[in-house]
């Protein structure tokens, strides 16, 4: 008999006024009892609408049925047939617009908490003693993956499982890409990221950090001199955008990338860290995406009073509703319909305040969102000693500019077909490097697709 409660099991979380002072994980995860109870809310629809909403088509009803029976190991097996990073995706996927948005239970009440169940299963698995991994028999082919973010990890994992000799090249000193430098510890503990990467290494995947492809070695050299038959480019969209307004280069102004990298990759939030960070006493974050929420919540944890300045209204915020909710609970103040036009300086070149134009909404623009237009003569000043620009990122041009024959879009994205094949034979690409900034799960899906195509390519050679 299914559990017909219209509401889902609450996720235990750290209290807002406690968690906004530490970097430990906010959500604490279901207990076994909560997971089983939640799993029983699934009706096991034959046509699996939830799975159609999943970018990697996890057999969701099947894994949930196993959770309902307490067969967590079996549930894990089902998830990992389709997903390479369940502990990550269970935490950072926008389930409310994907699988959960298609759940039949959502029509009269709340959808089954699929994301929370995925996370539970992955965490349960990670808590078990490590079973020895069987290395697949080598098939004698060599493939390279550039970038160790979600798309690269997914691609490398799938190729390794098929017996390929896979090497991942990573520019930074730690693998994980945005999972390591971007998403904060309180949303995605770094131990989980390293555990997933450890799993790949156990499959035989080699990870070469400190290697900037395009500088240390080129794509052509990897193929011609190092003997890689096929290459996947998953170099992400790491180039921060700025508003190009006056005062943006003042001391105290960061890109969200720099602010988050200092905190997440370099551990600047820890006492005695060698890398400095200045969140100031009053921080203004410009932008309304998930990255803006992350930056705001980090600044709060470092002791600042935090404002998020966004030029549209709450309804248009691109961030996940859950992230916005968490940010509000933690005391972040939102200033909607507000757009910075200048950052004003103190005498010694530091940020003093942000001069903002007040906006109103008019007709929807090309993106389908209501277009913000200035209200003539309406300005406000927000005092601040730290400003964090979080208005998006573009693909890094480093690989494009050093790889002959690799075509890109005008805005920098690598041109690739459905399977990830680029304009260069044997070279595939996926994730943010192709699409521009998107989600972890879409990048992972692209990595898996490319892995399948690379397998075909190398086998047919």
């Amino acid at each position: 008999m299914p559990n017909m409660s219209p509401t889902r099991n609450e996720m235990p979380v750290q209290a807002p006024d406690v968690r906004n002072k530490n970097f430990s994980e906010v959500a604490l995860g279901y207990t076994e009892e909560q997971a089983i109870d939640e799993a029983k809310r699934c009706l096991g629809c034959k046509n699996k609408p939830c799975s159609t909403g999943c970018p990697v088509q996890i057999d969701i009803p099947a894994f949930i049925a196993q959770v309902a029976e307490g067969n967590f190991a079996e549930a894990y097996k089902i998830i990992t047939k389709s997903s390479s990073l369940p502990a990550v995706c269970g935490r950072v996927c926008p389930q409310e617009t994907q699988c959960e948005s298609k759940c039949v239970r959502g029509k009269k009440g709340e959808p089954v908490a699929i994301g929370r169940l995925e996370r539970f299963v992955a965490d349960w698995h990670n808590a078990q003693p490590e079973a020895p991994v069987e290395k697949p028999a080598p098939n004698g082919h060599k493939a390279a993956v550039i970038g160790s973010g979600p798309s690269g990890l997914a691609c490398a994992g799938d190729l390794a499982k098929k017996g390929y000799d896979v090497t991942i090249f990573e520019a930074l000193h730690v693998a994980g890409g945005v999972l390591s430098y971007g998403i904060p510890e309180f949303r995605l503990p770094k131990s989980i990221v390293q555990k997933e990467i450890g799993g790949l290494k156990a499959l035989g995947v080699k990870v070469e950090t400190n290697t900037v492809v395009g500088k240390t070695i080129s794509v052509d050299e990897l193929m011609k001199e190092e003997g890689f038959e096929s290459i996947f480019i998953g170099s992400g969209a790491g180039l921060p955008r700025f508003m190009n307004i006056k005062g943006e280069n003042l001391n105290g102004v960061y890109s969200a990338n720099e602010f988050l990298t200092r905190i997440n990759l370099m551990k600047a939030y820890k006492e005695g860290s060698a890398t400095p960070i200045k969140a100031g006493t009053k921080a203004v974050i410009v932008g309304g995406g998930n990255v803006a929420m992350d930056a705001a919540r980090c600044a709060k944890r470092l002791g600042a009073e935090v404002y998020i300045v966004y030029r549209r209204t709450e309804a248009e915020l691109p961030a996940r509703a859950e992230e916005v909710e968490h940010a509000k609970e933690e005391g972040i103040i939102f200033k909607f319909l507000t757009n910075p036009v200048e950052i004003e300086a103190t005498e010694d070149g530091w940020v003093k305040s942000v001069h903002c134009q007040q906006m109103e909404l008019s007709e929807p623009d090309a993106s389908g969102r209501a277009k913000p237009v200035p209200i003539e003569g309406a300005f406000i000043d927000i005092e601040a000693d730290c400003v964090i620009m979080s208005i998006g990122t573009s693909p890094n041009p480093l690989i494009k500019s050093t790889t002959e024959g690799l075509d890109t879009q005008k805005w920098g994205g690598i041109i690739a077909d459905e399977d990830g094949l680029t304009s260069k034979e044997g070279v595939y690409a996926g994730g943010d490097a192709v699409t521009g900034a998107a989600t972890v799960i879409l990048a992972m899906g692209a990595g898996k697709k490319a892995a399948a195509a690379m397998d075909k390519y190398m086998q047919s050679k």
């Binding site: 790491g238 001391n251 960061y254 720099e258």
Partner: protein, 279 residues
């Protein structure tokens, strides 16, 4: 691992290290830089490549002990390994079409100016090197510069080495005496480069300055190293580190360079105290 193959003290505050880094050595060119970490908890610091040996697979760095990380680095010895060493990053010095160049270096910046002078000399370019130091104890690479320059001028603030005065005085004298340079390349403290650029602007001599701002990743990801060049924001790590000296906003660069000064001073003192206790 990135083993320290050789360590040499050039003066009381400047140290040379030759590091085993074959992949970096294979691609390195004058003007480019590396990023290193001394240990697993260390910060990432950029240092310009002072020399490289492709056959031996080594890269030479020269650093001044100014903060906690360079203090820690200076406590490592031959046989020790660096945690991370990545590069070569940034763009190489452009040398095409040059016939006569003045290389103007100041202080530890001479460590970066030298490989540029050397490469130009090897390419058959006429090189005049003008280098300045505070006093005779701080002079580095004098013999090396002499070997790579058809004219060498040594300046010091107090007159204890070479002539007394600033590098700009020497450069001005050379220009006034009729020397015609198609480019001036300047590397050193921001304030020195600012005045070199101001001088060469008067004479309309194209000038390149090598910038060394605060940086984290060195691949264009953070934007911490941004500076204004000709009214546009540029990233030193990928667009530079060398820029048209007549277009750089040096005052902004100087302000940005001081962003973490109190933190750095404190960290440096702590590191020094730590090493004192160990002794």
């Amino acid at each position: 691992m990135f083993e320290i193959l050789e360590k040499r003290s050039l003066n009381p505050t400047v140290t040379l290290m030759r590091i085993n880094a074959p992949k970096v050595a294979r691609k390195a060119e004058p003007g480019q830089f590396i990023i290193l970490r001394t240990d697993a908890d260390g910060e990432r610091i950029p240092l310009t490549i002072a020399d490289f040996d492709r056959e031996k697979g080594s890269v030479t760095i020269i650093f001044q002990i100014v903060g906690a990380t360079t203090e820690k680095l200076n406590h490592l010895n031959e046989g020790d390994c660096l945690q991370d060493f990545v590069g070569p990053l940034g763009r190489a010095t452009e040398t095409e079409g040059l016939k006569k160049v003045a290389v103007v270096g100041g202080g530890v910046g001479c460590a970066i100016a030298y490989p540029v002078a050397k490469k130009l000399h090897e390419l058959g370019v006429e090189v005049h090197s003008i280098v300045g130091f505070r006093n005779k104890d701080l002079v580095i690479l004098e013999d090396e510069f002499r070997a790579s320059s058809s004219k060498f001028v040594l300046m010091s603030d107090d007159g204890t080495a070479g002539e007394k005065g600033l590098v700009t005085d020497a450069l001005k004298k050379l220009i006034e005496s009729g020397e015609k340079y198609d480019r001036v390349i300047t590397i050193g403290p921001l304030i020195m480069m600012k005045f070199v650029c101001r001088l060469t602007k008067e004479y309309e001599i194209p000038t390149v300055a090598s910038m060394n701002p605060i940086m984290i990743d060195g691949t264009g990801m953070c934007g911490g190293c941004r500076l204004t060049v000709g009214g546009q924001t540029k990233f030193a790590c990928v667009d530079g580190p060398e820029f048209d000296g007549h277009l750089i906003d040096f005052d902004e660069a100087m302000a940005r360079g001081a962003m973490y000064k109190p933190f750095e001073r404190h960290a440096y003192e702590e590191a020094c105290n730590l090493f004192k206790e160990v002794k």
